[in-house]
Symmetry: C2
Subunit: 181 residues, 2 copies
C-alpha cells in the first residue's frame, strides 16, 4: 500500500505519512509502498503495544462500568486486573471474574501486581487524592475521566477524557461557521 493510500485513510497527506514514518526508520520499499503486515508489527513495537498492560479501574460508577464492559480493551492488550470503589455497598461485588475492592487497598494492589496504568473514573473531588496515591505506589500512567486538571510529576503521563470539552469543541466549530477542522 502506498503512502498515498495510507493518507487517504487517515486525515492527512502522503508526504506527511512518509515523514512521520521516516522518523522511526525506513519501512517501505520504493516503487512498491508499505507492507501492511510489516508496518503493523513494527509500529506496534514502537508504540509499545506488543505486550499486555496491567490496568486498574478506580470508580465503579456508570463510567467505570461502561469502560469495564468495553470489549476492545482486553482485545487491545489492556488487562483490567482490579477494580476499586469507596462505596461499601459495592465492595466485594464481582464484575465478571474481577472483584471490587475497597479503595484503601489501592497501593497494595498496585505494588503487588506491578500495575502500569490507572483509569480514574471517580468524582472530581477525589481524583487528585487517588492520583497522588497511585503515583506514589508506582503507577506509570493515568487515564483521567474526572473533569479536573490533576497534577502529577512530569515523568507520569496523563491523558484526559473530557466529554464536555469535546461537545464544546463541536459547538465552536458550528458557531464559527461550517468547516469541520
Amino acid at each position: 500500500m502506498s503512502s498515498e493510500q495510507l493518507a487517504s485513510h487517515g486525515h492527512t497527506t502522503a508526504a506527511q505519512v512518509r515523514k512521520d514514518l521516516s522518523h522511526f526508520g525506513s519501512f517501505g520499499k520504493r516503487g512498491l509502498g508499505y507492507s501492511i503486515e510489516e508496518l503493523s508489527v513494527r509500529l506496534r513495537a514502537i508504540l509499545g503495544l506488543d505486550r499486555v498492560w496491567q490496568v486498574v479501574l478506580v470508580g465503579a460508577g456508570r463510567i467505570g462500568s461502561a469502560l469495564f464492559e468495553y470489549p476492545d480493551f482486553k482485545m487491545r492488550g489492556y488487562d483490567c486486573v482490579a477494580i476499586f470503589d469507596s462505596d461499601p455497598e459495592k465492595i466485594g461485588v464481582q464484575w465478571g471474574t474481577t472483584t471490587i475492592h475497597s479503595s484503601e487497598r489501592l497501593e497494595a494492589v498496585i505494588e503487588q501486581l506491578d500495575v502500569d496504568l490507572v483509569i480514574l473514573a471517580v468524582p472530581a473531588s477525589v481524583a487528585q487524592e487517588i492520583a497522588d496515591r497511585a503515583v506514589e505506589a508506582g503507577v506509570r500512567g493515568i487515564l483521567n475521566f474526572a473533569p479536573v486538571q490533576i497534577k502529577v510529576p512530569d515523568s507520569i503521563p496523563v491523558e484526559d477524557v473530557n466529554l464536555v470539552m469535546q461537545l464544546e469543541a463541536l459547538s465552536f466549530k458550528i458557531t464559527r461557521g461550517g468547516a469541520g477542522e
Copy 2:
C-alpha cells in the same frame, strides 16, 4: 488576573495566552490583567456556549447510559431531547423524563426538534449508517464514540472519542521513556 497567572492554570505560557486571546479581540487592561468575569462571558459567546444545544443520543447501551446520567451535560447547556435504540426491548423505556425511541424515528425527531448534535454511542457496524441519516436530516455536528472513522461532508464537524487510542497514547509515552508530553 494576569496572563502569567492564567498560563499557570492551563499548561501554557503567558505569551501564548495573550496571543490566543488577541486572536479574538482585546480583552485585557494594561497594568491590570484580565477580568475573569468578562473573559468568561466573552469567551462563552465566542465558543457558542451562551445558548442551549439540542442533542440526541443514539444507542442506549452502557456508554449511552453513562453519558445520559452525566450531570455536567445539562449544566453546560447540552439538552438531551431524545434517545434512540434499535433494540425492541428498550424502546418505550423511560430514562428520567426522556423516552427511548425506535431508531427509525431518528430523521423525524431531528427535523421536528431542530436538533443540533448527535451523540453516536452505537456499535461500529452501524455508526456510518446512522451518521448518514442524521446528516441528511440536518444535524450540525457529531460526537462519535464508535471506533470507526465516519465520513461526512466537510461542513459537518465530527469529534471522535476513542478511549483505546488514548490508552495507546499513554503506552507510547511510557515506552518512549518518562517525559509526559
